[in-house]
Amino acid sequence: MPIDSAKVKAKAEEIIYNRLGTNLAAGQPEFMEKRRVWTVPLELDLPRVVEDKRTKELKYVVFHLGNVGALEIDNRILKPIGIPRRSDLNTVVEDKLLSIRSKVENLLLHTASLQFAKLVSIKHMMTPLANLITSVLKHDSYALQSGQSTWRSVVSYSNLLEKKDFLVRDGNEVRPSAMLQTLYQELGGDLDGTIEHVLKSIIENDYETIYRDFKIKTLSPYVQISSTYYDYALSVHDLIALSEDDIWEAYSTLYGTATKKRHFRFDDYLRELGQESINLLRQTESG
């Protein structure tokens, strides 16, 4: 005969208080008939205090991370027979946080890809791609010279653009696809705008490819810094004002990027993200 589940829950709360931590609580115990054991889910809410620098208001939010582990309690003697280690629970929490961060990054890549495409440093890194688009749109075709090693990157970009249906290939010749020509016309023959839209499409759908295969990592601090801010903004459901120090603190903690070199460039990343044409972050009156 199973004992009262309220007693099991109270026992679980006692174990949490004594050995696990204040961000955890016991979920609904479940009796495992076969083993005569109670399983009690361990549920975690991660609290966070965010100060809106503009209003000076403190916002307390909690991330509901749900189940992060379980306790096992013997039905006969009401004693724990399985308590997860704190380090194991911590790992589960870190993984869940990583997954949230990755979702925010993906959300941002999908909603703000055009803004990222306008960043000067990104355009600079993607120069071969811009050269290709300019060339095919100006001259209707471009002859690839794959034999030369210096042209490898151009060929790689050409392959990427072909895969994305922006170019069509005929032997060594590449030509603008119907989609690229339409885009160019729709933008009134604006080459810069066309390049930005092609970049947008790549950032939105092929961020992993340009990061891993093309080794273009320039974009990642911009995405990470913006994500850090929007992670906070989403958690409090408001476009709050954070100080630069707060963003740096959160960014370096979340991404483990507290190097002097990164800190040195941090102000410039913020400045670029706050430029009128980018507008991913905005400087408030109080800075």
Binding site: E13, I16, Y17, N18, R19, L20, G21, T22, N23, L24, A25, E43, L44, D45, L46, P47, V49, L58, Y60, V62, H64, R86, L89, N90, V93, E94, L97
Partner: protein, 164 residues
């Protein structure tokens, strides 16, 4: 809880109630740093506070008591100027929504309507409305923590005039 613990130690230090009172307490960031590895994303297990204090401030021989009580017991300790740390559901207090996370605060005074606290989130003399506080405190089984220097008596606190 780490912040509240530090506030309690500062209180005792100011009153010369720590056994090594000639040695100043570490700065808060340093103190928090020593606790950091124990806190992590799970929060500090309150019952381990004594062990952790032995690491953070060795040789102080502090006594940590985990109690449950009611509003009268909280007011009793405040009147006796014993620093008292209740733990409660802060989200329940602020938004009437229960959460899993537990918050700690240091009680320093009370009126008919409010408890006054030195609060890790809000700072000095932050008022908690009693009815709402009691409800949020009830979510954590009316638990509170007393940290006292070993050998200190009630008179040790009462001879001092200032609050917590």
């Amino acid at each position: 809880m780490v912040t509240c613990t530090y506030m309690v130690l500062r209180y005792y230090e100011k009153r010369g109630l720590l056994s090594e009172s000639s040695k100043p307490l570490p700065k808060y960031d340093d103190f928090r740093g020593r606790f950091g590895s124990y806190v992590g994303t799970l929060g500090l297990p309150p019952n381990k506070l004594h062990d952790y204090l032995n690491v953070a401030v060795p040789k102080e021989h502090l006594k940590v008591q985990h109690k449950t009580g009611n509003m009268v017991s909280l007011e009793y300790h405040i009147r006796n100027k014993t620093p008292i740390i209740p733990i409660f559901d802060y989200l329940m207090y602020q938004q009437s929504t229960p959460s899993k996370a537990t918050h700690a605060t240091l009680l320093t005074g009370y009126t008919a309507e409010n408890f006054y606290t030195n609060d890790p989130i809000h700072g000095k003399r932050y008022p908690y409305e009693k009815p709402k506080f009691v409800e949020a405190w009830g979510q954590r089984s009316n638990k509170y923590i007393l940290i006292t220097p070993k050998g200190a008596t009630l008179n040790s606190y009462l001879t001092q005039t200032s609050g917590c």
